[in-house]
Amino acid sequence: MLMRQSLTICSFFIFGLLAGCSKPPSPSNNILLWHWMTDRNDTFQQFAQEYQKETGVKVTVELFAPSDSYSQKIIAAAQANVLPDIYGILDKKSIVADFIKAGLVADLTGAMEADGGAWANSLFDKALSDRSFVAGNVYGVKPGIYGVPIDVTDIQLIYNKKLLLKAGIKEPPKTFDEFIKDAQALKRVGITPFVSGWGELWLLDCFTSNYAFNIMGEEKIFATFRGEVKYTDPDWIKVFSIFAELRDKGVLIDGIVTKGNKYAEQDFALERAAFAFNGSWCVNVYHDMNPDLDYGVIPPPPISTAYPLKIWGSSGSSFVVNGSSPNKDKAIAFLKWLTAKEQQVVLARETYNLPSNKEAISVISPILEEFAKGMDESTHPNIWPINEDPSVSEAFDKGIQDIIIGEKTPQQVALDVQKVKDLKMSKGKN
């Protein structure tokens, strides 16, 4: 009797294990999509239902948030080869390249260029190039388009009109000097001038690179990444010195180096600071937190006239199609439908994000339109020919935090960063 019981338990267990080792999936009328966008989940679910009615293809939308956990899930699923038909890679371009080389991302060039490039032409070029690899790219990826942007985003300086008027400022600043003067005026009437979530290093990195482009131009930045220019170069010292000036003039909100962007958004929405450095997604966030907030958008005021100031702008969120999915064509068809004007208009209206479809831009709100203007002067690490080593970037960003809290001078930070760079370069040679 006992023997039979133990055999039964074991059988269940073994069958359970075997069920996990099922056959590779075969083509079906079901598409599985994994995403991380809590604010867009309801709209995606609604789209899935509509799409099934229209085409008979069932799209199962599964949400995994927050984005950090989603990233880990995608990496784990890639290792186990259980990725869904459609997913997003929230990582550096080098990691996207690894996914492509592992056959986990489908090349969408054919679909994009079909019908005279109708699909590709309907989308913002900048957003598309962010998901493309050009010929001779450093990652060794076959040239092509590998992702579909479902919205675009850029990061700019946002100002509270009411608080600026309170300090007697009628126009937002056009130069960095004016920005510093405005900050002093704001301080005089007890208003904190500037907030941003610089506890998140990527946002700090973004602000810094805006000014690096403005001070030395992109060629010199890329030369630094290649190790041909040192971080101790006077131009880089000038970039680091911006933060010393912001600190010394009391422009930054207290605790900025440990502040997450969610808290920074809350501060701006609750009118605790007059300026914020944030991305176009903030329109949605501010609308939820304070629908009456009256604000405008400008690019960060340039500090130099030597080179144009570039802002970060790219595809905000994008999807890729699993290269080994048996439902590849159906997945591509769904993404084409998702980025068509009708769906993009709904997404923009429901979630206050900038649509990736150029035709849908005509229906967006005035504030999003201001963000959209910035796309012309935008850039992004994903479209740069070379990126800095992550360890150097970490030392760079932490060094800026050091300047902000007054622990190090720009010169000391430049030396520290260069040390890490030299170490990485010497390892690369070995």
């Binding site: 267990f13 890639a78 990582d91 550096k92 080098s94 990691i95 605790g255 440990t258 932490k398 622990e407």
Partner: protein, 304 residues
């Protein structure tokens, strides 16, 4: 029953036992042994989480030995642990002693003291972010602590507690102790309640003072519980992570780094999975060693 039948019966019996144990054993192997083996294995590779893996032998460990940020993070975790051992546990023990006496509202105190540990570390981080907020709006301090200090006549003490390298780690250690002391309190209280009351009665009849009773009865009887609480405190504090993330995001430069945030950063920011695994192996080994040393010291103390 002949010899053959007996052997068959023993075999069947053993097989049956084995089959009962097999599912648990298999689960243990799949979810504990294999990942553990895989982590050690990966620590010898240069791997970005996806794509080809390059065997580099002990290079990750060699680099780790000279990684000042890593060893600083270890010291930071040690400091947080030390604060917990020196302040959190004695306070928990003292409060458990108080609640073990016949005092009014002791059930209420038990519930109150146990609230912080049952809260998620994220929630604790949110609460303390509000308490420690250094900002001002319309001339008023937003954070409760700074507002309290200012309105109590101590404006010179108003401070950016998490934004100043001199106070950030200590502030985190205090918040961690605030959350953690409830566990110690409950364990100490449970331990105190298992001590036979007749021992105290006998000591009272013999005329022993309160101090003598405490040192000769309470402390020796509580030693096993104290040991468990110390080991759990060390293991818990050394692995603090979510609280730090909730309080200071990616950290105040490197002043608030602890081993787990370094491991996370190696995986998330620099995509060095092999290096992160080497860090995890070293960290795990150190924790096991510390636990063994604590146990040995405590065993010696018991014998003495």
């Amino acid at each position: 029953m002949d010899h053959k039948d007996k052997a068959t019966a023993i075999f069947k019996d053993n097989l049956q036992n084995f089959l009962f144990v097999l599912p648990a054993f298999a689960i243990f192997c799949v979810f504990y042994i294999y990942p553990f083996y895989k982590m050690i294995n990966l620590s010898f590779y240069d791997w970005r989480g996806i794509g080809p893996m390059h065997f580099i032998g002990l290079a990750n460990y060699k680099e780790l030995m000279g990684d000042n940020l890593w060893w600083n993070s270890m010291w930071h975790a040690g400091y947080i642990t030390l604060i917990a051992l020196v302040f959190q546990n004695p306070l928990a023990f003292a409060l458990a002693l108080a609640c073990d006496q016949q005092i009014r509202m002791k059930r209420f105190y038990r519930v109150v003291f146990f609230i912080p540990p049952v809260l998620s570390q994220l929630v604790v981080g949110l609460i303390w972010n509000w308490i420690l907020n250094p900002e001002m709006q319309n001339g008023q301090h937003i954070g409760f602590l700074n507002h309290f200090l200012y309105s109590s006549g101590f404006p010179q003490l108003v401070h950016d507690w998490l934004g100043d390298p001199k106070t950030a780690l200590t502030t985190i250690a205090i918040v961690n102790s605030w959350q953690g002391f409830g566990w110690g309190f409950i364990m100490f209280l449970a331990g105190l309640q298992t001590i036979d009351k007749q021992l105290y009665e006998a000591a009272r009849i013999d005329g022993a003072s309160a101090w003598k009773t405490f040192t000769n009865i309470t402390m020796p009887m509580m030693l096993p519980v104290i040991l468990v609480v110390i080991i759990l405190t060390i293991l818990g504090c050394m692995q603090v992570f979510v609280l730090i993330l909730a309080l200071v995001n990616e950290g105040l430069v490197n002043h608030t780094d602890v081993p787990v945030t370094r491991i996370f950063s190696a995986m998330q920011n620099t995509n060095r999975f092999g290096y992160a695994c080497a860090e995890a192996v070293i960290f795990g080994t150190i924790l096991v060693c510390v636990s063994f040393i604590t146990k040995r010291v405590s065993d010696k103390a018991k014998q003495a």
